[in-house]
Symmetry: C2
Subunit: 398 residues, 2 copies
């Protein structure tokens, strides 16, 4: 009954359904890490704005110390001292120099710094025992960034290091894309809120919290639409609202075929089902569709399966919505045992990590404890029949 | 003049100076990712609280289908149907079964589920063409987590996946350690606020913003103590306050020897200097000390050097304060060119990444643009004379 597509095609579909959020906001430096630039950020002025020494020494005209050496030092008149943080008000003339600290401003007339190791001072005279080339030991105006240069193109996810670059340029506010809004709802007559006591036959709503935490970690705003019973009218109303009010709607349902069919039917009635079934294990009955302009995912009810599908299929959609790739922490590890796999479906397996080794964490269908026992998961390509003990695998970290 | 210690010893010193924050707070699920458990989190009840089917089929007593097969099916009376989310109120007796969906609750008297593929229904009779063992296709009460079991030990940095585990157990609030408080100040007569126009000779305060962004990314609260002139009285007052009001104080100073000496002198007067000089490049004049119970770092003025020292030496201190290791995103890459290195000091180098290859980003001393041009940095061991083109290196991502 399911028209199953490959994981690769499902990822492409997920990306194609999404469109970068149009909303932007202006934020101060401290709020920028993790946010994505809405437009190119340009440097408003030359950085540095003046020539600066990179050594302690004397600021000179390079021409005045041309040919100087151990045997024949240049003999210059010291006319003063530049202090750190002070403007070099007085120019030097030929035959003159001024003392200058690392970071100090070069006076007009100077185009190089002779380092202190090669100097001998005698009252207001300075002997320079080494030649320096023009602009040696100097950062020139604009060397760090030129006025108008693009510090970051549009679509850059800013890091703490980038905040330093912006501060250096005097850019203390930045236009960034708004956080994507994600609407989250759960379906299933058996689902009760996590806060509630669990009556016999019921199960707590795990996925709403899991999805909320994952989406927030990916820089999204989340809004919860509660637990909806398996009834067409109720699900239609809730899903319509979640799609209308958000950039992405995530619905995690019970695990039965009937519930999945209801999800697909409701999405089809409100919009369009693009795919019902992905060749992955777990996660096969995943529904991907669109209501209005909003991508909608019908996710598995089992929490581990819900996690995998969200990380593999929903993440690419969030990347497009948010305007830039997301960091994806992963490590390589050696597998401690053989793992067999179903031919024809990409498979996902929880693993725990210790001393660079990955050990599979198996759990009965639907148990949540494998998530707490594991540190991450690995993928097994659909054309692999399994993995060998000792094989190096990539582990995507929780 | 500097009593230089190895990077390894500086990291140990950084860890030794810190003590886990004593403050804790109770937070709801959505606020937990990235936070560290203050105490072991126990499961308050059996999860699941009842035996649950993992298949669509009929709930049976395994003894009733013992020896059943294609040729000799067991013949059972269907007494009803368990609906998803409903309590299985009526027990089954010998010779009876009930229809059950995946996730449905097993009635008393049943200890296994015969899957639908092996069944034939005829009115209220069900033929079962396969034997099932006791508890086959069933998750038993407590299989996922036993009442009282530790879900997470104290000192666990919680992930989004962990939030799912807590929700499943009905633990919707958790006692976590408070965020470490970090006081940040800048010194230097040449430093002006990032917001201000830069007069000749001055330079913007980059490091306060860089440190604020880094510490926040590591889950700390930050408080800024402004820009302090290079005067003993002013620096003493500011540093004393920053140390008294925080779990960690970070001071980034100008790059001159005089400023570094002032920092060390003031820390020594208020508390104790543990190390003045680390065998790293850049970052050599780093000061590590303690005022009262608060670790204090005197960091380099050059932003790239400040970044490296913070990531290499301050991060271990924050890990101890916050109660658990921090994730450290890193990738491996092949180096595109030879890199020479100073013998005897661990060296840090900005690199950009493209197609799994790392290219060094060089910059004159003190320029900030290398941070924006690079994607991360690599470390060169102090006993290496350099790195070879094509060599695989670890790149720590910004």
């Amino acid at each position: 009954m399911l028209n199953v597509i490959s994981v690769e095609n499902a990822v492409t579909l997920s990306e194609t359904l999404a469109r970068r959020v149009a909303r932007a906001e202006r934020l101060p430096l401290a709020a920028l890490p993790g946010r994505v630039t809405a437009e190119a950020v340009r440097c408003p002025e030359e950085i540095p704005g003046f020539a600066r020494s990179t050594m302690d020494g004397v600021a000179v005209a390079a021409a005045d110390v041309f040919g100087a050496g151990e045997a024949a030092p240049a003999d210059l008149t010291v006319t003063g001292e530049i202090l750190m943080g002070e403007a070099a008000a007085k120019p030097i003339r030929r035959g003159e120099c001024v003392k200058i600290p690392t970071g100090g401003m070069l006076p007009a007339g100077a185009d190089a710094v002779a380092p202190v190791e090669y100097l001998d001072f005698d009252f207001d005279t300075c002997l320079v025992y080494r030649a320096v080339s023009p602009w040696e030991n100097v950062v020139r105006s604009g060397d760090d960034a030129r006025a108008g240069a693009a510090l970051f193109p549009a679509g850059t996810r800013l890091t703490p290091a980038d905040v330093g670059v912006l501060a250096a340029a005097g850019v203390t506010e930045c236009e960034v894309l708004a956080r994507p809004r994600v609407g989250i709802l759960s379906t299933g007559n058996e689902i009760v809120p996590a806060e509630a006591p669990v009556a016999p036959g019921k199960v707590r709503d795990v996925n709403a919290h899991l999805l909320e935490a994952l989406c927030r970690a990916h820089g999204c705003e989340t809004r919860r639409y509660g637990i909806v019973p398996d009834e067409e009218a109720a699900l239609t109303a809730a899903l319509q609202r979640a799609a209308a009010e958000n950039d992405l709607a995530l619905l995690s349902g019970g695990s039965s075929a009937g519930e999945k069919d209801l999800t697909a039917r409701v999405i089809a009635a409100l919009g369009e089902v693009k795919s019902h079934g992905v060749a992955m294990k777990p996660g096969k009955p995943t529904v991907i569709g669109k209501i209005g302009k909003t991508p909608v995912f019908g996710l598995p009810g089992h929490p581990a399966a819900c996690y995998f599908v969200t990380d593999v299929l929903v993440r690419p959609c969030i990347e497009v919505l948010s305007g830039a790739p997301l960091p994806r922490p992963a490590v390589t590890a050696a597998l401690t045992e053989n793992v067999s796999s179903n031919h024809g479906r990409e498979e996902y397996l929880c693993v725990s990590l210790q001393n660079g080794q990955a050990t599979p964490v198996y759990g009965k269908s639907g148990v949540v404890s494998q998530l707490s026992a594991a540190d991450g998961y690995l993928r097994i390509d659909r054309d692999r029949e399994g993995l060998r003990q000792g094989e190096t695998v990539i582990v995507y970290l929780f």
